[in-house]
């Protein structure tokens, strides 16, 4: 299960609203105790997808590397990635799956007409063929 504290949650939701009608993306930093993940900070990252960003996002590995360093500096860990789905549900799409990594939690925020609607967290498998829903609280 994953819990997102109020402050990072506000950052993520605001980021998703501001990026609307495009997708936003970012990193979630915090700590892991067994299966329990706690997100204590959210880091906005640039959507580097070249082309229409209404239904696509891409993270630059360099940005992710920097996020990992920032986490270490703040005595936290990089534990997840978030992105938004404008005007559709927070499912884990085929595109999401095919470009995922099993190491992290993937939180998807559904934004409808510019307002937050709902969110889900997903744990993709190694083969990028399936993602299990992870219990999410915020």
């Amino acid at each position: 299960m994953i819990h997102i504290e109020a402050e990072p949650w506000a950052v993520m939701a605001a980021h998703a609203r501001e990026a609307y009608p495009n997708e936003c993306c970012g990193a979630m930093l915090g700590s892991v105790e067994g299966d329990a993940k706690l997100v204590r900070a959210a880091l906005r990252l640039e959507n580097a997808f070249e082309g229409a960003q209404a239904a696509r996002y891409e993270l630059r590995p360099e940005d992710l590397l920097a996020a990992d360093r920032a986490a270490r500096e703040q005595k936290m860990d990089l534990i997840g990635i978030y992105h938004s789905h404008p005007d559709c549900d927070a499912y884990f799409s085929k595109t999401d799956l095919q470009n995922s990594c099993p190491w992290y939690s993937f939180v998807v925020l559904s934004i409808r007409n510019g307002e937050f609607h709902h969110a889900n967290s997903w744990l993709p498998n190694f083969d990028q063929t399936e993602a299990a829903k992870e219990e999410l609280t915020y």
Binding site: E23, V32, F49, G51, A52, Q53, A54, A55, R56, Y57, E58, L59, P61, E62, L64, L65, D68, A71, R72, D77, L78, I79, I81, H83, H85, P86, D87, C88, D89, Y91, F92, S93, K94, T95, D96, L97, Q98, N99, S100, C101, W103, Y104, F106, R112, N113, F126, Q128, E130, A131, A132, K133
Partner: protein
């Protein structure tokens, strides 16, 4: 000794160490050393064939080793090797329905709204979710686009894109029921989107305010699951077909003329495409558009709703799709017929050895100039010039090649009505040396008449550019337009 920085999720395999020092002359050796030291880590980074997993990027300090010497990149003391996943995604492709991927879930309001769908076993919750997750592109917000937009919205399609750059004209209202009298002069996109959102405020509408061109078609179409062709011209029809074949997206096709319509699905896997049916476009001007030939206002409703039905069936995956069958509808006889369409193995687009592998210049292909030429060519005359000719009292003949019922709607005083089809047998009525001007409604039919007269030996024949519509615009506004 290079230092390998371990991402948080992998530290469970390295005894909680966040960095491990490993010896090795190259990055490849360092990673081998690391995974020999921590065997459980191997599966995380390498696949069964020993290759780096597709989502793993390896960085030496701040550089991706793909841009250095890959695994042979030398690693020196003090270097840091990082494992960085490549991550991307987006809602672009809706997931296949399944327990792992709960697709577009229905809200309580939606369950109520679509209850008449939900209680049909072939649709049900799962089908309605598919409709909600579907992305459909309408090419054109005109006669066919009107019923399509309204009914697909009402049926619960989640995302509808519309390509159109036209404004609502009063002559559209006879059939384009998505537009109202008060919308005359507005962009069709705005007018249509407003009506659709009034039906379903949760609909996502994407307005593509542009003509579909070879440059933008693939980019616009790629984000949709299927395309519904509601265009009325050959260049766009071929363009939509070719783009759909290239992208592998079904093209739900419809066309209308006077009292007759056609519908089918092209570019469906295994099925024929538009070029299998018509490998070449007809000569320009041969097949009149609705503006030229007229159309029963109700007809696009019938054909558009056949397209809408096929669209919904395709999304739901139910019934027998209209693939390989051209449905012909005759409103006067009130009959439906079906022609078998076969995929042509020689088709230049979708055949076994396609010769067309990218989008071409469709205006050239169809022999239609991309833009009406602004400057007057030899053999053409403008409406104001024609007026001056009348005013000067020149001696000339003005031939109107429209049909008698059109002549009754409006005509230019002093013109002689000879419908295009009658021209060959009445050509003897004129002196081949006479000064002749020919007109029709917009200049298409009269251009063909001019060509015919010149071939018949007439030396001074000119076509009234823009037809009687231009006459009404530029000379005599009291002449009604139709």
């Amino acid at each position: 000794m290079a230092k390998v920085s371990i991402p948080t999720p992998l530290r469970q395999f390295t005894g909680k160490q966040d960095a491990v020092s490993v010896s090795g002359a190259t990055v490849g050796e360092v990673l081998n050393g690391l995974t020999t030291q921590f065997p459980d880590l191997r599966k995380q980074i390498f696949n069964d064939e020993g290759k780096l997993r597709s989502f793993v990027n390896v960085y030496l300090n701040d550089e991706d080793i793909r841009y250095l010497a890959k695994s042979d990149t030398p690693a020196a003391d003090g270097d840091t090797v990082s494992l960085v996943p490549s991550i991307a995604g987006g809602s672009a492709v809706a997931p296949p329905a399944g327990p792992a991927n709960a697709a577009a879930e229905l809200t309580k309001d939606e369950v109520l709204r679509y209850s008449r769908h939900l209680i049909i076993p072939e649709v049900g919750i799962e089908g309605q979710q598919k409709l909600k997750a579907a992305k459909v592109l309408l090419v054109g917000a005109g006669g066919l686009g009107a019923p399509l937009g309204l009914y697909l919205t009402a049926a619960g399609i989640g995302h509808i894109g519309i390509v159109d750059f036209d404004v609502v004209d009063v002559t559209n209202l006879q059939r384009q029921v998505i537009h109202s009298t008060r919308d005359v002069g507005r962009k069709k996109l705005d007018s249509a989107a407003e009506k659709m959102l009034a039906i379903n405020p949760t609909l996502r509408v994407t307005k593509h305010e542009t003509a579909l061109t070879s440059e933008n078609a693939l980019d616009i179409l790629k984000d949709y699951d299927l395309v519904v062709d509601g265009t009325d011209n050959f260049p766009t029809r071929y363009l939509v077909n070719d783009a759909c074949v290239l992208l592998g997206k079904p093209n739900v096709y419809g066309s209308i003329f006077r009292f007759e319509g056609q519908a089918t699905i092209f570019a469906y896997p295994g099925g024929p495409c538009y070029r299998c049916l018509y490998s070449e476009p007809p000569p320009p001007g041969l097949v009149p558009s609705c503006a030229e030939g007229g159309v029963l206002g109700i007809l696009p409703g019938t054909i558009g709703l056949i397209q809408a039905t096929e669209t919904v069936k395709l999304i739901l995956g139910i019934g027998e799709p209209l693939v390989g069958r051209l449905l012909l509808y005759d409103a006067l006889g009130m009959r439906f017929r079906e022609l078998k369409l076969r995929k042509n193995p020689e088709c230049p687009m979708c055949g076994e050895h396609p010769t067309i592998t990218r989008l071409i210049d469709y205006h050239q292909f169809c022999g239609v100039p991309a833009q009406p030429e602004a400057k007057m060519n030899e053999g053409e005359i403008g409406a104001t010039e024609l007026k001056e000719k009348f005013d000067r009292g020149d001696s000339f003949v003005l031939i109107d090649v429209r049909e008698p019922h059109e002549y009754r709607i409006c005509n230019i005083p002093g013109s002689k009505l000879i419908p295009l089809g009658d021209l060959p047998k009445r050509v003897g009525e004129f002196d081949p040396a006479a000064d002749i001007v020919v007109h029709c409604k917009s200049g298409m039919r009269s251009a063909r008449a001019c060509g015919f007269l010149r071939q018949a030996g007439f030396q001074h024949v000119r076509n009234l550019v823009g037809g009687i519509l231009a006459w009404s615009d530029q000379v005599d506004p009291s002449v009604p337009k139709y």
